[in-house]
């Protein structure tokens, strides 16, 4: 007997993995297709293998040495225009993405990203807006001369009536070796999927509840030393 729980968990993590196509937009539409299928639960190992191939295709298309891909969808119970506008102002990313120290908007297309690193260090790069369809799509990529190879794409859709906005995020990045690689690993943490879902949960809390839930000791949640 298969273990439905384990399979379902894998499918939830990998469910956005597409059938093919290297560009993120292709990846994105395939994601949507698969997410609408109800039978992904049994596809765990199968999907995993295909994911590896996809990452290879993504890397080859960009001349990256490798690629990591992260995807997640979340519902935010706010109007689509509001959610889009919040994300479009890229400096807001630092408010809900844990490892981003700040994003400075340079002009209509360019932004400068500063990511926390161990100690007082940080890693910085410019990103360029590559696609914008108002209230529907935002995509960006790191500038050609950046140390960090990174792309992201977000799609905003109306949920079922009265249920706010569905936000689908796909991120891809090259994970180089050496010290920069460590910084990248830090940016996305050991499990990029987990980091992405946490960041999106914080976005949801911020836009729905107006603040980000915390139980950080000691002020938010006192605890005894042990």
């Amino acid at each position: 007997m298969p273990k439905p729980h384990a399979a379902a968990g894998k499918a939830a993590n990998k469910g956005w993995t597409p059938e093919g196509g290297a560009p993120l937009s292709g990846l994105y539409s395939a994601t949507r297709t698969i997410m609408t299928l109800s039978d992904t639960a049994g596809a765990g190992p199968h999907v995993s293998r295909k994911e590896g191939k996809l990452e290879k295709r993504i890397a080859e298309a960009r001349d990256w040495s490798n690629a990591e891909i992260v995807g997640r969808t979340i519902t935010i119970d706010r109007p689509r225009a509001e959610v889009f506008a919040f994300w479009r102002d890229f400096q807001n990313l630092a408010r809900f993405m844990e490892n981003i120290e700040r994003v400075n908007v340079l002009d209509a297309k360019r932004s400068h990203w500063v990511v926390k690193a161990p100690g007082d260090d940080s890693v910085e790069w410019d990103a360029i807006l590559t696609e914008e369809i108002e209230n529907e799509v935002l995509a960006w990529a790191s500038a050609p001369d950046a140390d960090i190879k990174h792309e992201g794409r977000v799609e905003f859709r109306d949920g079922p009536p009265g249920r706010g906005t569905e936000v689908k995020v796909v991120l891809a990045y090259e994970a180089p070796g050496g010290s920069v690689g460590k910084l990248i690993a830090k940016l996305f943490q050991k499990e990029p999927q987990i980091q992405a879902r946490r960041d999106l949960r914080r976005l949801k809390q911020l836009l729905e509840a107006g603040e980000i839930s915390t139980t950080e000791a000691p002020a938010a949640a006192p605890r005894a030393k042990h």
């Binding site: 119970d77 987990i194 946490r198 949960r201 809390q205 139980t215 002020a219």
Partner: protein
Amino acid sequence: MRALTYHGKHDVRVDTVPDPQIVNPRDAIIRITSTAICGSDLHLFDGYIPSLEKGDVLGHEFMGEVVDVGSGAAHKLKIGQKVVIPFTISCGACFFCKKLQYAACDNSVPAEKADLGEKAYGYPMTGAFGYAHLTGGYAGGQAEYARVPYADVGPLIVPDGIDDEKVLFLSDILPTGWMAAVNCEIEDGDTVAVWGCGPVGLFAIQSAFLLGAHRVIAIDHYPHRLELARKLGAETLNYHDVNLQEALFEITAGIGPDACIDAVGLEAHGFSVDNIIDAAKASVKLGTDRPHVLREVIMACRKGGRVSVPGVYGGVGDAMPIGAFMEKGLTMKTGQTHVQKYMPELLKMVLEDRIDTTFLISHRLPLEEAPNGYKMFKKEQNDVTKVVLKPH
């Protein structure tokens, strides 16, 4: 401040910990005047609830006085007001809160704690005070002070001059017993059977009568608790003395109870074969829950009847009579309590003396004696029906 903290299985202590502070706009700080030990605290005490960490401040039934309010809650709360705090923490703004399913709030567990719920239950859980990290890791209310998040949604303002003990149980067990009875969808002529005459079971009995039950049958093995159930108007069965299935068949003349409430949850007592196997498994960590009562409830409920499970369950249970559940066409309703939904109507009933909950309190202790309170509540369940702590 002083607070009751968890240090390991059967090891809770009163420690000095930092004072809580307002960290988010919608926070309030409450100076706690009364706080109770809940039956579900014993599940923590006994080490049955995953994700509890050493050093955690426990307690989720508390009330007190507002001593500080953030800018985002100031339109609702004023310093000096007396408030009862719901044990569930709810943002009031998400899909679930808007449907009044406060115990399913999507936002109150911090993002970095939400993975646990996704792993354990498929989706992140809702925040709760003093109940491990699956529910957010919020510090509890068996303490001198507590930080209350989303304080414009949760706290129930109590009119001046009302005694704490009259309203304290609005924080959890009264709404929990009430929702257990609401979930029975009681109709005229209905018989409701309640397993467990602890606080939730006793309040479920009261609630079932208020919601129109014709008969309530209360099941336990502690004589004192059965006596309390009788005083509330229930007929009682001691499961040590009877074959429950037979007894319920006879009492209802072959129909069976229309609705059954499992107010026992994951640490069922009793000497049935399945329960002994469950206990053995739990002791070697092969399983967590001992769902003996849930099995009994499913077997005893009439065809087409309703099963209501205030619980608490936390993990997995096996040997469910799933055939009986399906073939009889039962409906099951469960869940942590949507406390904020039921508090106002229950406060009204308490103030009109239609519900009295003070009879339950058997012991009043200073906070410093809380560890002893846990031990008493655990060991002397016949006499110790409810322990209320007074931190100030």
